[in-house]
Amino acid sequence: MQVTMTVNGEQVTRDVEGRLLLVHFLRDHLALTGTHWGCDTSNCGACAVWLDGEPVKACTVLAAMAGGHEVRTVEGLEQFGELDSIQRGFMHCHGLQCGFCTPGMLMTARALLDRNPSPSEPEIREAISGQICRCTGYASIVRSVQWAAAEEAGTRTSADVGSPP
């Protein structure tokens, strides 16, 4: 069957099997390998992408179901060669070690800040509670999201905004 959807602002059409999962469509058909493929059981959240502006687990959505809808992946965070503030937050605050969970964490964190520009720590932890990180213990991920929130609120002092490590 043929499926057409918008991915990171660009319309794409491909011939796919009905059973193809969105995560494999993105990785194998569009070569957008930033979206990671982890547990396959909608537990780990490494495959989180946006579907019509809401984060979802792409291993449990059919590519066909995304037909006619808008998908945004981690590749779509950067705008005009500028990293999103959430990406810069992860760099500044060491929000990753191995990086496997990072694309999913970034997409969920971006969605959180779009809805709630100044989330509390429990709200951040709740937002990422469907995603597993085995490196950071989540503490530095929480700090990264807080960094981005402060950056966007303009409350960060220039002294805090150093060069990325």
Binding site: R19, K57, T60, M65
Partner: protein
């Protein structure tokens, strides 16, 4: 790599279209809403269908929470997140907010629907216990029109419901009565997990006595949801800690949990008693305005 066996994908444009497709395609077709129960089962090859009929385009038609003077109606395509964030449900039936906070995780809640959850009919599913507690009825539509069944009739056993091959669940509705409130208590092993045991309670108190109380339990047996004996024991009596303990003891006696990786049968019985007690206590406190 887990992928479902091959199937043909169809997309319904309306409820009538979905029912027409099901009637034409027969028993080898299945509706898919959020897909977060069905697709994992198909990946594990525990379920197989020749056709999947995607009903996500029906969200406009079936995604709603409508509050009427005597009842609340929830469309089958209403997503978990919409139930969690509904101010109307929070003020009138806080049991939904309690339960939705601990159902899966925010990403899954963005996709999963109340209709899909009930039709999955998993004995550990939280919303079945919630809907049992609030005395919900299920509206099932087929080629010949609609029929309305109680939760007890809807739930036929693990993974089986009253919904026939060319039918779909379109709405869940439940009565609104004054002087009542509700609560949900769940014990899980980790964030987002299925319950070890969970319990929902809806209660009504007038003139210092309980006029009605309903309990719905999840994960305590293949056919245990509502326990009418608790309602019978509570009606006409004044709320007290002793009474909550008595209700808990009935819950423990009437449920049929099995020992599995989530805990022993004895532990689950203990939880059934304790969570029934806590949920009753909290629901009654909410009626009095002592707790939110």
């Amino acid at each position: 790599m887990q992928v479902p066996a091959p199937f043909d994908y169809e997309r319904a444009t309306s409820v009538d279209d979905a029912i027409g497709l099901l009637a034409r395609l027969g028993a080898t077709a299945r509706l898919v809403a959020g897909g977060h129960s069905l697709l994992p089962m198909m990946k594990l090859r525990l379920a197989h269908f020749e056709y999947l009929v995607d009903i996500n385009d029906l969200h406009g038609e079936l995604g709603y929470v409508k509050v009427e003077p005597t009842r609340i109606r929830i469309g089958a395509m209403t997503r978990h997140r919409e139930l969690l964030e509904s101010p109307e449900l929070l003020s009138s039936f806080p049991i939904f907010h309690d339960a939705e906070r601990v159902i899966a995780d925010p990403l899954v809640r963005n996709r999963g629907t109340i209709g899909g959850a009930l039709c999955q009919a998993d004995p550990s599913e939280d919303l079945s216990a919630v809907c049992t507690a609030v005395d919900a009825s299920c509206v099932i539509r087929g080629l010949d029109g609609e029929r309305v069944v109680s939760m007890a009739e809807f739930y036929r056993g693990p993974y089986e419901t009253a919904v026939g091959n060319a039918e779909m669940l379109t709405e869940v509705r439940f009565p609104v009565r004054p002087h009542g409130s509700s609560a949900y208590e769940k014990v899980g092993r980790r964030a987002g997990d299925w319950p070890v045991v969970s319990c929902g309670v809806a209660a009504w108190v007038e003139g210092g006595v309980i006029t009605d109380a309903r309990v719905g339990l999840a994960a305590v047996g293949p056919n245990t949801t509502g326990i009418p004996a608790i309602s019978q024991a509570l009606r006409g009596r004044a709320p007290s800690e002793d009474l909550y303990a008595e209700a808990g003891a009935i819950a423990a006696a009437y449920c049929a949990p099995v020992t599995d990786q989530r805990g022993s049968a004895a532990y689950k019985r203990h939880l059934a008693a304790e969570l029934t007690r806590r949920a009753l206590r909290r629901a009654v406190a909410r009626i009095d305005g002592r707790e939110v």
